[in-house]
């Protein structure tokens, strides 16, 4: 319990630090947001009014606390670039709201593909005694890890989209209209995110399995007369999965980042695409919130993995 409290404290401290960094990093950038919003229509009065409205006339420290307070209350500020209607700026929360399900579904789908394929592959590879097959898997995973996700996306678009016509590239199906069509379309980006990670996870699991297969309890299991299959799945896999859990946690963080690029390849209207376009148009309120959000996801996943790890294996000291 003491351990959990300490972990939660670290979690909150890290989030605080990240929010301070995310906020102040964008304060040191040259250029005035007000001038860039108004463009050529700026008059000194309108400038002053907008400055007042956005709170930009206050010192940075005061602005940080206002901003952070608002974020905690669920008010994420307003975008500099997108507008809701003629004289109202788009709230960031609304901007992100309908893009979140896209990115989340992509992440969940990729994770499912990774787990379903990588774990059997890793175990199979560890037990594999056929030298040709062993070398083939080795080369295959080595190559899969060398393919950048955006090129994989392009290859998959070509193979399944243009050659086989299983989906129409660029014709994104909205989840509000047709949920299964949406999942079907997302399947292909998810595969491009998953393939390199499958290779990594399988390699990792194989090494972990091979270490376990040499341990005493495996020898004991064999001498009791357990079949090879039973030893591999019933005894060794459970222990070999331990480091893999941590590894999969790190993979989630990578998936979140990897989807930034893959969303661009398949022109998915998700968080990543919004982040890139906001960076290009220097829409800082959106960038700040997105960075904070992605960081939060990453830190939270690490936190969960840490806790989970200790639940699975009570031997790990809580020191």
């Amino acid at each position: 319990m003491k351990y959990l409290a300490k972990k939660i404290m670290t979690l909150i401290m890290t989030l605080f630090l990240v929010s301070v960094l995310a906020f102040f990093a964008f304060q040191i950038i040259p250029g005035d947001a007000v001038l860039s919003i108004l463009g050529t229509e700026g008059t000194p009065e309108r400038e002053a009014a907008l400055r007042e409205e956005l709170g930009l006339n206050k010192p940075p420290i005061v602005r940080y606390f206002t901003w952070a307070g608002n974020v905690l209350k669920g008010d994420f500020g307003r975008s500099y670039r997108y507008s809701k209607n003629m004289n109202q700026m788009m709230p960031v929360a609304e901007l992100i709201g309908d893009k979140l399900p896209v990115t989340l579904t992509l992440a969940v789908l990729s994770m499912m593909i990774i787990i379903v394929v990588a774990i059997p592959l890793g175990v199979f590879w560890a037990r594999c005694k056929n030298r040709v097959l062993d070398v083939t898997i080795n080369m295959g995973t080595q190559t899969a890890m060398a393919i950048p996700s955006f090129f994989l996306g392009v290859l998959i678009t070509y193979l399944f989209g243009i050659a086989l016509k299983w989906f129409s590239p660029g014709k994104y199906v909205s989840y509000q209209k047709d949920f299964w069509g949406f999942v079907r379309y997302l399947l292909f980006p998810a595969i491009s995110v998953a393939i390199p990670k499958i290779a990594m996870t399988a390699r990792f699991l194989r090494n972990s399995m091979l270490t376990e297969m040499h341990s005493d309890y495996v020898r004991t299991a064999y001498s009791k007369g357990a079949s090879e299959r039973r030893v591999a799945y019933g005894h060794a896999l459970r222990n070999a999965m331990m480091p893999v859990v941590t590894f999969l946690g790190m993979i989630i963080a990578e998936i979140v980042a990897g989807s930034i690029v893959v969303e661009q390849v398949f022109s998915l209207p998700g968080i990543g695409k919004l982040l890139i376009s906001s960076i290009s148009t220097r829409d800082f309120p959106v960038v700040e919130i997105l960075i904070l959000y992605i960081t939060f996801v990453v830190i939270f996943v690490y936190f969960l993995v840490d806790i989970l790890y200790r639940v699975i294996d009570p031997r790990i000291s809580t020191k």
């Binding site: 060398a146 392009v154 980042a257 800082f284 690490y302």
Partner: protein, 273 residues
């Protein structure tokens, strides 16, 4: 001749294949600064979308430009940028890692916490943050990725210095009154090279993947500089008509990355022997 043959027999397969693959890339990269088979900018409407042939090894693109020449130029840019990124990050790694590893103490503690925090994050995200603050462009890509990749080098160098700082020969050097700077960089540094080269080759890989990823997103290298990532994103619009346009830069990236990872695997195995 005999010496060369003996040298070849001593190397493992990973190392040799990796060396051959990266060697070819480096030769093309250096060559591209002086010569390409065709001009990389001259356009020709009559030669649009030619499939690969002996005349145009990788075919031609939507402007009738020779793709092989442009890929060569892209390799040049990518290798140059990645080298600078690795130079910055490994340089920072050696300096900071040596000092924190050898002396320890409160500075070490602080630096380790920072590198822990940075290491936990996907590198492309961090680079995006830096880019969004500094703006896009070649220099900023180099600088931001150089910063982002430093912590991994710092950690590796630091742990090696910690391992060696209490070794007998270092104790002896200290007793003989060798200056600290000399102990750090003349006595310890050469002994960490085998581990260091492995991380340099891995660093190269990450730099190439990150650079081409950012160029693909349009926030890295800007035209008129050719880059493999940018070429790939241009080619995507013509995937149905000219698939070779996308395959050429894409497969080149895979080739480079695979070459460096085989090389690092080879160096690692040599170190283990």
């Amino acid at each position: 001749m005999k010496m060369i043959k003996e040298w070849f027999q001593k190397q493992n397969k990973y190392f040799l294949v990796g060396l051959a693959m990266t060697g070819l890339v480096l030769v093309l990269a250096v060559l591209s600064f002086f010569w390409t088979p065709y001009s990389t900018t001259s356009m020709s409407t009559s030669e649009r979308f030619h499939a690969p042939s002996w005349k145009h090894l990788f075919g031609t693109d939507n402007f009738g430009r020779d793709i092989f020449s442009r890929v060569m130029q892209g390799i040049g840019t990518t290798i140059l940028i990645s080298s600078l990124i690795v130079l910055i990050s490994s340089g920072a790694g050696v300096l900071v890692g040596a000092v924190t590893g050898y002396f320890g103490g409160i500075v070490d503690e602080i630096v380790m916490r920072i590198t822990d925090a940075v290491n936990g994050f996907p590198s492309i995200l961090l680079a995006l943050v830096v880019i969004s603050i500094m703006g896009s462009g070649k220099q900023n890509v180099i600088l931001s990725l150089g910063i982002v990749f430093s912590p991994s080098f710092i950690r590796i160098v630091r742990s090696e210095f910690i391992r060696l700082r209490d070794a007998d020969y270092i104790m002896r050097a200290r007793l003989m009154g060798v200056r600290k700077l000399r102990i750090l960089f003349v006595h310890i540094l050469p002994n960490i090279f085998s581990v260091f080269w492995v991380s340099v080759t891995i660093g190269f890989n990450n730099a190439i993947l990150a650079e081409s990823g950012m160029s693909y997103l349009g926030i890295g290298v800007q035209p008129p500089d050719a880059s493999l990532g940018k070429m790939l994103s241009d080619a995507q619009g013509y995937l149905g008509r000219a698939p070779w346009y996308a395959l050429a830069p894409g497969l080149t990236i895979v080739w480079i990355v695979l070459g460096f990872s085989l090389l690092s695997e080879g160096i690692r195995r040599k170190g283990e022997k």
